[in-house]
């Protein structure tokens, strides 16, 4: 982490109104990201990692309300920015790619056109220039025969190809930040590897910061500089990748690593995590993991919990870290 962070999420809390009550989906999430850095956000479903990314992009569900915190992008608070300013930022300065690329693209618009739309919106190009740039972008994401492919529709392409198009679309305006939300889920392992390599390469080339949101610890381990682990709307631990794996400080992180199948580990060695995510409606204990944690002590149910540095650049949200 050097200089002013590109993105600074500070104490972000967010909740959803639902039929059955208010879901406290994010609480006091604090994260920052430097230029060119790759941050992995890891967690199980329902941990709030996608909610976080949508909140950063300002594309949350209408039922969502930010109850506290700031999201600063190059010093500008995205949460208070006008929708016009935000729109100018999205796609130009910060971009996002999603899972299920085949449905994340407009099914009835040629892929080239969709990239052009973004370029026309942000880059101030003429249609012809935009066209040219779009083809160029397709070439950069290593799509063979980009000239012809620009006229193709998503349904004419494989999932991997569509994800490349998504990447081209996201990177068309050379954003400073890319949020990749489960970019490889649903893709074949070999395609998955190729896509991640591509993201890595392009990020390095353009000095772009990347947030990789994934449920796959392995994927994060391989591609990220730092990893943030989320559980039930909390960021429980943030650490440089090697350190996180070598010496996890939060019990949940440790259990998560232990439960992930990996080479050299037998089935018996996989330790399931007992219990489930807590119900995020209603009142919650200060530590949302406490109910599942084997190390629970009365102190865990004490007052409010604050993240603290367990080591340089290694913060943990736990009263009794490992």
């Amino acid at each position: 982490m050097t200089g002013t962070p590109l993105l600074d999420i500070d104490g972000l809390s967010l909740s959803f109104r639902t039929r059955t009550g208010t879901v406290k989906a994010l609480e006091a999430v604090t994260l920052s990201l430097a230029k060119g850095e790759t941050l992995g956000v890891v967690g199980e479903s329902g941990s709030g990692k996608s909610v976080l990314s949508f909140a950063v992009m300002g594309i949350s569900d209408p039922a969502a309300t930010v109850t506290a915190g700031r999201v600063l992008f190059e010093g500008q608070d995205l949460l208070t920015a006008s929708s016009k300013d935000l729109n100018a930022l999205r796609g130009a300065e910060m971009a996002m790619i999603f899972q299920n690329p085949r449905v994340a693209l407009n099914p009835i618009r040629p892929v080239g056109r969709q990239i052009e739309d973004v370029l026309l919106r942000h880059a101030g190009l003429t249609r012809a220039e935009a066209r040219e740039r779009a083809v160029e972008m397709l070439r950069r994401v290593r799509i063979p025969d980009p000239q012809r492919r620009a006229n193709a529709y998503p349904f004419e392409m494989s999932g991997g190809m569509c994800q490349r198009v998504m990447i081209a679309l996201a990177l068309a305006c050379s954003p400073k930040l890319l949020i990749a939300d489960e970019p490889t889920t649903g893709l074949d392992v070999t395609t998955q590897a190729a896509i991640m390599d591509l993201v890595d390469d392009l990020a390095k080339e353009t000095q772009m910061a990347t947030i990789l949101i994934t449920h796959d610890l392995g994927l994060a381990a391989q591609h990220c500089d730092r990893i943030a682990v989320m559980h039930a709307g909390h960021v429980v631990e943030v650490a440089p990748t090697a350190e996180l794996f070598a010496a996890p400080r939060h019990p949940y992180t440790a259990r998560l690593i232990a439960t992930t199948p990996r080479p050299g580990v037998t089935l018996d060695a996989l330790e399931p995590i007992p219990g489930m995510l807590p119900d995020l409606r209603g009142t919650l204990p200060p530590c949302r993991y406490a109910a599942r944690c084997g190390r629970r002590e009365p102190v865990c149910d004490g007052g409010a919990l604050a993240a603290h540095l367990a080591a340089p650049a290694h913060s943990v949200l736990c009263a009794r870290p490992l």
Binding site: I59, D61, S83, L86, N87
Partner: protein, 541 residues
């Protein structure tokens, strides 16, 4: 649906679109065209349904065609006009007037007509006796209604017609039929431009019926300017017409407007001049309202009635028929169905004293008496039957049947109302399998025995919907037809009317009005037995 992606302009955009559209259409409404230049000389008529043929001789030509051909074709002779007590005009069946024929005389053989020499068809061809001969040959040859109608005057064969020279024409008669001459004044014996029709005839259709159905081959006061079947007929005045004074109206437009409410609205708002076929309620209210003038003429020799099939039990029992006659809710029908636009035909004297037809029957509503008669007939518990009505005349028939049904219910006769589509009505009554029905019948020729011949005679014609057959009745009717002594003739009439009122196969209800509603400035409307509009004497003041 993201917070940042709301489109506040959208509802406003939609609203704008809707309001803009509405304003645009209002603007177009408001500046309705002011094309009133020819309005004064044009008569706008709305009717429920129009003609289906421009030639009355074609198969299936409907009643509306009578009125059209009345104006577009000339006949040899026509009827005079008289003023009725209420000040309205009517044809006068006692006066025959020249039309194409300047004069005529009866001879031993028949009648000789002298044609006017200046008459021309619409295409300028002079009218000659040859045209008359050809036209008359045609009407007795093509079959169907024209042939049948002419037979009523003993005019049946081409051999009876002879063109003596260009302007003299002779009709030979096998018997001295007093109806022969009057029959030449009905709409059927039109004079056609024979050269023109022959030019358009085909070997399969030597009389050119297919062509005349759609084209004007006449020399009448009006020419057909355009005709869109089912929509509109436009007639223009024939400036060279010689068979009478030149009509005042230059143009007549007849539009078909099926909805009665709309026809009334159009007239009330002054968008049209004449409305035909208004329901009685509208006629009554318009007449009362005074904004427009309504002329109602009782239709001659016409009667609405309840018919009972005397061949079908239990209506074969005269007591049942009389019971029904006492059960009919006469006055409610006059009030709620006809709205007074008819002459009551009930509550007359016990004994028939008049030789007029139609005349009131002695019956009046008397449920107690009806019940007693039912009991006498052995139906004190009543019975169940079907009451048929003509859907085509539903305006009157349906409420009438509803009231009747209710009353019959009171004397134990439970009925189901069977609505027969108008077009099927004739087929239905032809079968004579309806036990009880509501219907109307009118005779063109205004003679009681003519009505009875169709309605009561044992020949069992289609209009004898009751299948009534009684030799005594037949004898009286036949006698009246041939009787020349006025007193005896009237006795015959009184006798068969009495017999009819005794046997009651049909229950007279009322004599209906032919109502025409017009704007106040329309004058010259004349009632005709064929119930078509004669535009020739009409004018807009």
């Amino acid at each position: 649906m993201a917070a940042s992606c709301k489109a506040p302009s959208l509802p406003r955009f939609i609203l704008g679109l809707a309001v803009g559209g509405a304003l645009g259409s209002v603007a177009l409404f408001a500046t309705a065209p002011a094309a009133a230049q020819s309005r004064e000389e044009t008569l706008l008529v709305v009717v429920e349904s129009g003609t289906n043929s421009l030639d009355i001789h074609t198969v299936g030509a409907n009643p509306a065609s009578y009125g059209v051909t009345w104006n577009t074709y000339d006949r040899l002779i026509t009827y005079g006009t008289k003023t009725l007590p209420d000040g309205s005009l009517s044809y006068d069946h006692s006066v025959l007037k020249p039309e194409l024929a300047e004069s005529w005389e009866a001879t031993e053989e028949g009648i000789v007509f002298h044609l006017r020499k200046d008459a021309k068809f619409h295409d300028g061809t002079p009218v000659t006796a040859k045209d008359v001969k050809w036209s008359f040959d045609r009407m007795v040859t093509v079959g169907g209604f024209p042939t049948f109608q002419m037979a009523a005057g003993s005019i049946t064969k081409p051999e009876q017609f002879e063109a003596i020279d260009d302007h003299t024409f002779k009709v030979k008669l096998p018997v001295k039929d007093k109806l022969a001459l009057p029959d030449l004044g009905v709409p059927v014996p039109v004079v056609m431009n024979s050269a023109l029709v022959k030019k358009n005839a085909t070997p399969e259709d030597p009389w050119g019926l297919e062509w005349t159905k759609r084209n004007d081959a006449g020399g009448g006061a009006y020419k057909v300017e355009s005709w869109k079947p089912g929509q509109e007929l436009v007639l223009t005045r024939y400036e060279e017409w010689k068979s009478g004074p030149l009509p005042k109206l230059k143009k007549v437009v007849m539009r078909e407007v099926p909805s009665a409410g709309n026809r009334r609205a159009l007239l009330e708002r002054g968008d049209v001049d004449v409305s035909f076929d208004l329901p009685p309620k509208d006629s009554q209210e318009l007449a009362k309202g005074g904004k427009v003038s309504v002329v109602g003429t009782p239709i001659e020799n016409s009667l609405w009635f309840v018919g009972m099939n005397v061949k079908m039990p239990p209506f074969d029992n005269v007591k049942v028929r009389q019971a029904v006659s006492y059960a009919v809710p006469y006055q409610p029908i006059m009030d709620a169905v006809v709205y007074g636009r008819g002459i009551p035909m009930f509550g007359g004297p016990e004994k028939v004293t008049s030789a007029a037809w139609p005349q009131p029957s002695p019956y009046r509503t008397d449920i107690a008496k009806a019940k007693a008669l039912m009991a006498e007939a052995g139906f004190s518990d009543g019975f169940t039957t079907t009451l048929s009505i003509n859907q085509g005349a539903a305006q009157i028939a349906e409420p009438l049947a509803t009231l009747l049904q209710e009353s019959l219910g009171q004397i134990g006769i439970k009925t189901t109302i069977n609505k027969v589509p108008g077009a099927n009505w004739r087929a239905a009554i032809l079968k004579k399998d309806q036990p009880i029905l509501v219907d109307t019948f009118s005779g063109w020729l205004n003679y009681p025995e003519y009505y009875f011949f169709w309605g009561y005679h044992g020949q069992n014609a289609v209009f004898n919907v009751m299948s009534y057959q009684n030799p005594a009745m037949d004898k009286l009717i036949d006698a009246a037809r041939l009787e020349s002594d006025k007193a005896k003739y009237e006795d015959d009439i009184k006798s068969f009317v009495s017999l009819a009122f005794e046997e009651m196969p049909r229950v007279p209800l009322f004599q209906y009005y032919l109502d025409i509603a017009m704007r106040k400035n329309v004058t010259g409307y004349t009632y005709w037995f064929h119930r078509g509009l004669d535009f020739r004497p009409m004018a807009k003041g």
